[in-house]
């Protein structure tokens, strides 16, 4: 008589699913989430209580409930805008069809793009595009410069004073200069790349280049003596030495610098956008502020929270990248 035996993999899964195991997993998940959720809940309560006491010229400071309804309002505006766009394109196609029917053989009517003031989501995308462009530009400049000054003492001596003097300069101080330079150099602007975009991205790059340069230089300069000795015994050429020993050893510090730079870039971007009128989140806040409607405060707060959440997400993405690239399993990457 054959006896049926449950296969090992099934038994293992079943064990994992048993009530006690699930209970334990649920317990640990709850423990991990409990404190953060509690913190957020307390914050929301304090916010609601505090906001009720503050009266501004634009009305009462909105509490979380009002801010949530404003967020929903922004989403509704986005949906309405999509409907309008669809209708616009439909009308345009109708007109084109009629004209083609009336004069066959004539050139097709030009397709006009749908232009309307950007919705909240479009503005978020613009902000992200600007910040990534500025950040990438700064990384392209900072990493080679950082490597050069990390490897050469004299070069470091020459460049360091400039770094220390320009590092503390606020983006708002750079903006007038950058705006004037871009206006004079960028003569025929392509509508896809408006001046405000260039101004914002250059300002972001100017401010977020410093953490990467400094961290790269430190990472490159602090390759351990032991590894340098190995390189000497093997008689590695200069380029080989940099490629095989200095750069891999410096990668953790370079990523730390990049992470810091991205954080700085996102903060600087909002300020830069406000003044350069790049159609992103910064401009959204500025317009709402100037607009002064009863909904403005709530919408500004939605923008503030969105900015925070996006900054958090950007940092997590960099952290994930850092973990992928890191060869040191013992290093704490948090």
């Amino acid at each position: 008589m054959e006896t049926t035996r449950t296969p090992a993999w099934f038994a293992a899964r079943a064990r994992a699913w048993d009530a006690r195991g699930a209970g334990r997993q649920l317990a640990s998940l709850t423990r991990a989430l409990a404190m953060p959720l509690l913190g957020i809940a307390i914050f929301l309560l304090l916010w609601q209580a505090g906001a009720a006491r503050v009266q501004t010229t634009l009305g009462q400071l909105p509490g979380p409930a009002l801010v949530w309804s404003e967020a929903k309002g922004l989403h509704r505006e986005y949906l309405m805008d999509r409907e309008r766009e669809a209708a616009f394109h439909a009308r345009q196609q109708e007109r084109a069809a009629k004209m083609a029917a009336a004069n066959p053989g004539a050139a097709a009517a030009p397709v006009r793009p749908y232009t309307a003031s950007p919705t909240f989501y479009t503005q978020i995308v613009t902000s992200l595009k600007t910040v990534m462009s500025g950040f990438l530009l700064s990384a392209l400049l900072a990493i080679p410069v950082g490597i050069a000054i990390g490897l050469s003492g004299p070069l470091h001596g020459a460049v360091n004073p400039l770094i220390q003097v320009f590092k503390p300069v606020s983006p708002l101080a750079w903006l007038p200069l950058v705006t004037l330079v871009v206006a004079s150099v960028h003569d025929n602007p392509d509508p896809a790349v408006p001046k405000s975009f260039i101004t914002s991205l250059i300002t972001v790059a100017l401010c977020c280049v410093w953490p990467t340069v400094i961290n790269t230089a430190v990472g490159v300069a602090s390759v351990s003596d032991d590894l340098n000795n190995v390189s000497k015994v093997l008689r590695l050429g200069w380029l080989q030495h940099v490629r095989r020993i200095v750069l891999p050893a410096a990668v953790p510090m370079i990523f730390t610098g990049l992470r810091l730079s991205l954080g700085v870039a996102w903060m600087v971007l909002i300020a830069a956008e406000m003044l350069s009128q790049n159609p992103g989140l910064g401009k959204f806040i500025w317009d709402e502020f100037q607009n002064g409607s009863s909904q403005s405060l709530g919408r500004i707060m939605v923008a503030v929270i969105t900015i925070g959440l996006i900054g958090f997400l950007l940092d997590r993405v960099m952290l994930a990248l850092q973990r992928v690239v890191s060869w040191d399993k013992n290093a704490v990457t948090r």
């Binding site: 032991d226 000795n229 000497k232 015994v233 093997l234 060869w327 399993k329």
Partner: protein, 311 residues
């Protein structure tokens, strides 16, 4: 057998804030091909400095090192070094670490397939063939040091230089690695200079033990021939009177003649008139002879070079 490596009147002086510091003075040593030499002495006596000078990582201010008739001026793979802290590249696997050395040394001379065989052969010599693709972070200290040794051997050096290779390991791992090293030595008959603190290790592994005086201006104090035949078994040797005699000689040098008191070196009492540094001694000094050393205050003449050695 002919002399492979010669240190000739090697001295080195470092510039410090408090003035020049003479770490080594008049070190003379001849090493034959296939010999295993240990350098032993108290901490800070300059053993690593001697090794770094032979390796080319430091340049002597006086005298020089000659290998195969050519002076040593810079580091190179023919004097491969095994560092105390393995010095493996942490982002490469064991195989890739050895490969880096092999590619550098045998770039034009071996084909890809030959290189791969050679790398695997060397890792097999140190019993690491099961962990070829593991990174240093994933293997133990003893295994890392084995890979370090494999990397050095893979360069086919003329002289293998080892700076306290087992210093950072526990006693059991050390014993395993010493046995592995003796096995490799049997097979390859390398010329080896090893720095060690461990008297037992020095007597077990070497053909000659070079004992250094305390710094500053350290030099070679005594040289002891270890006449035990190979292969050496540590358990058998524990009962061998010759082994114990050798140990005793080394310990006597370290703890009586070159005793370190309160962190400052002090020679044993009974100094007779000092003799010129390189007076050659053909005759063997009787066992237990006190080495005439000037006391701390009298730095007029350099310490003489006595000892049991075959010229």
């Amino acid at each position: 057998m002919k002399t492979l490596l010669e240190l000739s009147q090697v001295g080195i002086e470092f510039k410090t804030d408090k003035g020049p510091f003479k770490a080594l003075d008049n070190v003379n040593l001849k090493i034959r091909e296939g010999e295993y030499v240990s350098l032993i002495g108290h901490s800070g006596c300059g053993k690593s400095t001697v090794l770094n000078i032979v390796a080319g990582l430091l340049r002597a201010t006086t005298g020089g090192v000659v290998l195969d008739g050519r002076e040593v001026t810079e580091p190179g793979p023919e004097r491969a070094v095994v560092f105390q802290n393995h010095s493996l590249l942490p982002w490469l696997s064991a195989y890739q670490n050895v490969e880096l050395a092999v590619r550098q040394v045998f770039r034009a001379k071996k084909s890809r397939a030959e290189m791969r065989e050679w790398i695997e052969h060397n890792l097999k010599l140190v019993h690491m063939e099961h962990a070829l693709h593991k990174r240093p972070g994933e293997i133990s200290g003893g295994m890392k040091q084995r890979v370090g040794i494999a990397r050095a051997l893979a360069m086919q050096p003329r002289v293998l230089l080892m700076d306290e290779p087992f210093g950072a390991l526990d006693a059991l791992t050390r014993a395993h690695l010493q046995d592995s090293l003796m096995e490799i030595q049997r097979e390859l008959a390398n010329t080896v200079i090893m720095i060690t603190h461990d008297v037992d290790e020095a007597v077990l592994l070497s053909d000659r033990i070079v004992m250094m005086t305390n710094g500053p201006a350290a030099t070679i104090g005594e040289i002891l021939d270890v006449d035990l035949e190979r292969p050496r078994n540590r358990l058998e040797l524990a009962e061998d009177p010759r082994y114990n005699h050798c140990r005793q000689e080394v310990l006597r040098f370290l703890y009586e003649k070159q005793r370190k008191v309160d962190g400052t070196a002090r020679a044993s009492p009974g100094a007779s008139q000092p003799e010129p540094a390189h007076a050659p001694l053909a005759a063997k000094a009787p066992a237990g002879a006190q080495m005439p050393q000037p006391a701390r205050g009298e730095r007029a003449v350099v310490t003489p070079l006595h000892g049991k050695h075959v010229a």
